[in-house]
């Protein structure tokens, strides 16, 4: 089972602000190119896709490939509109699926 961490800015956010979101998840990101000591193939096990939705709208997504290190860390900007839920979803090989939720608090201006 994966563990994920989400970091939202700790400062007061107002409508229109560009805020940086950070997300990290525990995952081995096994490339599929490595072999065991006895020569057997280690099957690929990576995250394939990440997406972030803000109040249901897709605001960021990206595809992952084998050259990405273990425990992928992402940082990306969104424009704050009003207080609303953020949903982070990671999908990968072997049916991997992990969801995290957070609430973006936007102060009344």
């Amino acid at each position: 089972m994966a563990t994920a961490m989400i970091l939202l800015p700790r400062t007061v956010i107002r409508a229109g602000d560009v805020v940086m979101l950070k997300a990290m998840i525990s995952h081995p990101m096994e490339t599929g190119f490595r072999r065991t000591e006895t020569g057997g193939e280690i099957p690929r096990n990576i995250i394939r896709q990440f997406s972030c939705r803000y109040m249901g709208e897709l605001v960021f997504s990206c595809d992952f490939h084998p050259a990405i290190a273990a425990n992928p860390f992402l940082s990306f900007p969104v424009i704050a509109a009003r207080t609303g839920p953020l949903e982070f979803v990671w999908r990968g090989d072997n049916g991997f699926l992990h969801r995290e939720q957070a609430m973006l608090q936007v102060a009344a201006s």
Binding site: A4, M5, L7, N71
Partner: protein, 259 residues
């Protein structure tokens, strides 16, 4: 100095033996953190960029989890870890008062699991055990490593030092030859550290995973083409005790990041 005092001093030196010439003076001691690059240091300082914090989070969940009906969680005996476990990891390995066994931190967790919780202990180097270790080590961040001699582990310190100075493997190298006599110099592309175990368990970028001190030991042993001791062997624990005596007083920076 009177003649008698001089005699006593000479006798004392004879009994204790001279300090090894390669012993690193306290003012010259550097942790792995001090010796690594600025980027890796920045990664460790930022709890959000440090991948070992994922294990800490997982460990916190395990600390509070009830392993089965009628079985206690860690939390139900020990309470709030931030208070009850503060500085505890800095005092391991330790002698268990009731049995006299010397246990390292993962060994203590395994003992609690089998004897207090009545569950199958997590295997060494398993994700669950590393997570609990990381969570406990986190509670001792900044605490100075306690001297094992001060808690009566003199025998283990001596055995550990003998292992530290013993040559092993096809390359016929001892720990001391690299980590006491050649620290700071290059071995391949990396600098040889002084081998102070302040940050374990830690995230090593080479491993792309969090790992224990014994994993590090195994790496060194296979590196000098020696056969490592089995996981949890008494030799590893003696060696850990000696290294912690050698590093006594240095601040813990666990869970650390290392290249």
């Amino acid at each position: 100095m009177t003649r008698r005092a001089a005699l006593a001093l000479a006798l004392g030196c004879l009994l204790l033996g001279p300090a090894p010439a390669d012993e690193i003076h306290a003012s010259q001691r550097l942790s792995g953190y001090d010796m690594m690059g600025a980027e890796a240091q920045a990664m460790q300082r930022d709890d959000f960029a440090n991948p070992a914090m994922l294990a800490v989070k997982e460990g916190e969940g395990l600390w509070n989890a009830v392993p089965g009906q009628g079985r206690p969680s860690c939390q139900s005996c020990h309470g709030n870890a931030a208070a009850s476990m503060k500085g505890v990891a800095a005092r391991y390995p330790a002698r268990e008062a009731s049995t006299g066994r010397v246990l390292d931190l993962p060994g203590q967790i395994q003992t609690c699991q089998s004897e207090r919780q009545g569950i199958a202990p997590a295997a060494r180097e398993s994700a669950a055990l590393l997570a609990l270790e990381a969570f406990l080590a986190m509670q001792s961040r900044g605490a100075p490593l306690a001297s094992p001699r001060a808690r009566g582990l003199d025998d283990a310190v001596s055995r550990g030092e003998a292992l530290y100075r013993q040559r092993f493997g096809q390359l016929d190298l001892s720990c001391a030859q690299c980590h006491s006599q050649n620290w700071g110099r290059s071995l391949g592309g990396t600098r040889i550290p002084q081998a102070h175990p302040t940050g374990y368990p830690l995230f090593r970028m080479e491993w792309q995973a969090i790992g224990s001190l014994q994993r590090r030991f195994r790496n060194c042993m296979t590196g000098i083409r020696a056969e490592p001791f089995p996981p949890g062997a008494a030799e590893w624990i003696d060696l850990e005790i000696y290294l912690k005596e050698r590093a006594a007083g240095m601040a813990m920076d666990a869970p650390a990041v290392r290249p």
